[in-house]
Symmetry: C2
Subunit: 236 residues, 2 copies
């Protein structure tokens, strides 16, 4: 497997990267085909994992009672967290559509099981969180795969993990990492909703890249790439 | 942006997903072009982030003294962690090539800054780790983009984060998430090294997917997909 990617293959990959969105309000009722869903899950399962520990599980959810309990937890947590922010941001925050739990045909909880293949997992002794990082890589694979299949995905993090654990019968040692809403959509927005609505701006690449040390933006060994990044070339 | 992906575009995406590897031993001396490196960084920067907080930074490293310090930390941590495992696994573990710090032309530290756009970030009040999850999504974007550009990437998690923080001048509140080695390679292996070497097996998809609740593998609402997953169809 040393062959290069063709221009068209690269284009497909970057299309997934740049057109992926966190979707909350464009779900349509069309069900997700089982074959498509299994493709997406398989892509997630082929993520990298520390010491090849594959510490993820995926719980598919269609049951309306389950969805309603999670939605209630979302509403509680949304109200609770709104107390942390001052007006006028508070009203703006409360006006946002931040989940599609009931409208999306499939909900999916991704969990982390630190006991799988344990206790000794290569690469997890110095940095115990590495197992959790692997689960996040699987989620990103899943998200990008969903996009190539034209499935929208929204990650709901405004909810109580205790409610999730209880509702989904998770064992004590299993940690819920993500609660995702999946479904076909009538549109993928051009930009993230929070950018469009003026909540926060997209940072420029030059604001997030340093050279050799934290906060070093000038280093003569990296002059050409510094210039390229500053000029904000579009490489997509 | 509602257009479908063409078959060729999908193929490019899934090629990245299934041929990506964690690379430690196939680096060649060919330098990475600045344009390619900036493409990879830009793909990482277009990951999803909780509340659009974009909490990542990328520190590019070529300095040999820095690399040597990190390599020393790796050796120390590798020896320390080998004490946690019994023979004959211990000798096997110690025989593995687990990093390419000095052989890869570019090292890259990806960090998490919880203060960016803080303290109130949408979606981070109930689950504070959500910011850290965003950084991992960026790392996976970076990894897949590297693969499409034929760049190998190895994630070194056998090292001390304290050493990383000190060596790279990270502020107290900034958390190093990943230390990555990047470079062109003469081969992407067909399978993960730890699978080839018999350390751990690849789990089957049916072992990691549940329906409606933890550990439920039989549910009549999901009969067709359960059957598909059990039959281990290749959807790639």
């Amino acid at each position: 497997m040393t062959e290069n990617f063709t221009d068209e293959e690269k284009q497909g990959f970057y299309k997934a990267i740049y057109s992926r969105r966190d979707v909350r309000s464009h779900f349509i009722s069309k069900p997700i085909e089982d074959e498509v869903l299994s493709k997406i899950l398989n892509a997630a399962h082929h993520a990298p994992s520390v010491g090849f520990s594959q510490p993820w599980n995926f719980i598919l959810i269609k049951d309306q009672d389950t969805k309603k309990k999670i939605k209630e937890s979302f509403e509680e947590e949304k109200n609770r967290s709104s107390q942390l922010v001052e007006e006028p941001k508070k009203s703006k925050y409360l006006s946002f559509k931040l989940e599609g739990i009931l409208e999306s045909p499939v909900n999916l909880c991704v969990t982390y099981d630190p006991t799988k293949f344990g206790p000794f997992v290569i690469g997890r002794s110095s940095i115990p969180e590495a197992g959790l990082y692997s689960v996040c890589c699987a989620i990103q694979n899943l998200w990008l795969s969903a996009r190539t299949e034209n499935i929208g995905l929204g990650w709901v993090s405004i909810l109580s993990n205790d409610t999730l654990k209880e509702t989904l019968d998770l064992p004590e040692h299993v940690i819920p990492i993500a609660y995702l809403c999946l479904g076909y959509v009538d549109e993928f927005a051009e930009k993230p909703d929070l950018e469009t609505k003026g909540w926060l701006p997209r940072l420029e690449l030059k604001d997030v890249v340093f050279f050799e040390k934290w906060n070093d933006k000038e280093n003569k060994n990296w002059e050409k790439i510094q210039k390229m990044i500053k000029e904000n070339l579009d490489y997509a």
